[in-house]
């Protein structure tokens, strides 16, 4: 089957960006697109959560949080040892790659949807659960248990951040209201989803292109890491998915989440909590390489493996 058309939009943005063409949507429009995507994903997840929620989900959730703690713990020594990165940078990058990218998640959902592959419909919950743990691990790696970090302030920053709140709020509203009551809202939150995702990806292509430049300054290691680490962490995601008894579609998504790297929530948190880390280094890796890699090659690959292993 052909490429998911939303990926063409990403490619279009990437090419336009490399040609330095000015296709940028104004900042407020970008904000509105990402706002809508997050809320839509949350709402849909919430509806399904209310429908399919079970006690089993609690264990799955705990396991997923465990994965979010494990991934940065595995990445940090690698970045320090082989990558020879400073403490702050290694910790920051570990946090980026331990956390998740909602954009990548949306593309995976769209990819599975257009192929008719089923998956546990409450996966949006896992996205929320995976956002924060890696950030905390990263901060601890960078600063130890120093007492001059205001953890109360940091907690606000983390749990009241835009993406956690919009996904979480969407989940709650979706669960409270239920699918039937939300039906009149579907033209905006469901039917428009793929079109909005396409526009969002066009912008992300432009932004990713702008991040490829700085990459050159940062040396080969980070390039290799940005490609190989996702392949490794996807395997961890696959294993967790299989252990949790997810369907092949669900396993694919968990692998994608593990392989994806945050480029919104984590950079903001690290800038405040670990200011000495170089933000352009981690962003060049996560946004300039890992995001395109996952969207263009990763997701189909993870799906292929998940289906071979016949999760579920």
């Amino acid at each position: 089957m052909a490429i998911d058309p939303v990926v063409y939009f990403f490619g279009f943005g990437l090419i336009a960006g490399l040609l330095r063409a000015d296709l940028r949507l104004p900042g407020p429009v970008y904000d509105a697109l990402s706002f809508l995507l997050l809320l839509s994903i949350g709402l849909k997840g919430g509806v399904e959560l209310a429908r399919h929620g079970s006690i089993e989900l609690l264990w799955q959730s705990l396991a997923v949080i465990g994965m979010g703690i494990l991934l940065p713990i595995l990445a940090f020594p690698l970045l320090r040892g082989i990558g020879r990165l400073g403490r702050s940078d290694a910790a920051s990058i570990a946090a980026h790659y331990g956390s998740v990218s909602v954009g990548t998640f949306a593309v995976a959902v769209s990819w599975l949807g257009s192929r008719g592959i089923e998956f546990e419909p409450y996966m949006a919950l896992f996205v929320v659960l995976l956002e924060v743990p890696a950030i905390i691990v990263g901060i601890l790696f960078a600063r130890g248990l120093q007492h001059n970090l205001d953890w109360r302030d940091m907690g606000r920053e983390l749990f009241l951040g835009r993406s956690v709140l919009l996904l979480g709020g969407g989940l709650v509203i979706g669960a409270l209201a239920g699918g039937e009551a939300l039906a009149p809202l579907e033209p905006v939150f469901v039917d428009a989803f793929k079109g909005i995702l396409a526009l969002f990806l066009l912008e992300m292509g432009l932004i990713a292109a702008a991040r490829l430049g700085p990459l050159r300054e940062h040396g080969l290691f980070i390039v290799v890491f940005a490609i190989l680490w996702p392949l490794f962490s996807a395997i961890i995601g696959l294993l967790f998915g299989l252990l949790l008894g997810l369907s092949p579609g669900g396993v694919t998504i968990l692998a994608t989440l593990a392989a994806s790297a945050s480029y919104i929530a984590v950079p903001a948190a690290m800038r405040i909590a670990v200011p000495s880390a170089n933000p352009s280094l981690s962003l060049a890796a996560s946004l300039g390489l890992t995001f395109p890699f996952n969207i263009l090659f990763g997701i189909p690959l993870y799906a292929e493996v998940a289906q071979r292993l016949g999760g579920g």
Partner: protein
């Protein structure tokens, strides 16, 4: 005009993410008010185009006494100049209501 009084205009340009923290500092250090503008820019830390999440700068202007302005500038220097994209400058201005600034 004889009723013009000399004050100091402190202009700060910094990455947007810092805005809440620096505004809290301004409050604490007794700034009588400030004006904030979302801006873009270029400097040592590269292009800050503001096209997406936190990728822009903010420009804060404070009119106050020159002692206070210099104290704020020194505070920023100490706390933010090493790790963040931030610049600031001071200028002499005249105001009509000395009691306000």
């Amino acid at each position: 005009m004889s009723n013009l009084h000399t004050r100091c205009l402190l202009t700060i340009v910094c990455e947007a993410l810092l805005e809440p923290r620096i505004e809290a500092d301004l409050k604490r250090l007794g700034a009588p008010g400030w004006t904030a503008t979302p801006v873009r820019g270029r400097g040592e830390h590269g292009d800050r185009e503001g096209h997406w999440e936190n990728d822009g700068n903010v420009r804060l202007e404070v009119v106050c006494s020159s002692e206070r302005a210099e104290r704020i500038a020194a505070h920023l220097h100490e706390h933010y100049y090493r790790d963040y994209a931030i610049v600031s400058w001071l200028a002499e201005v005249k105001v009509l209501r000395p009691e306000k600034f």
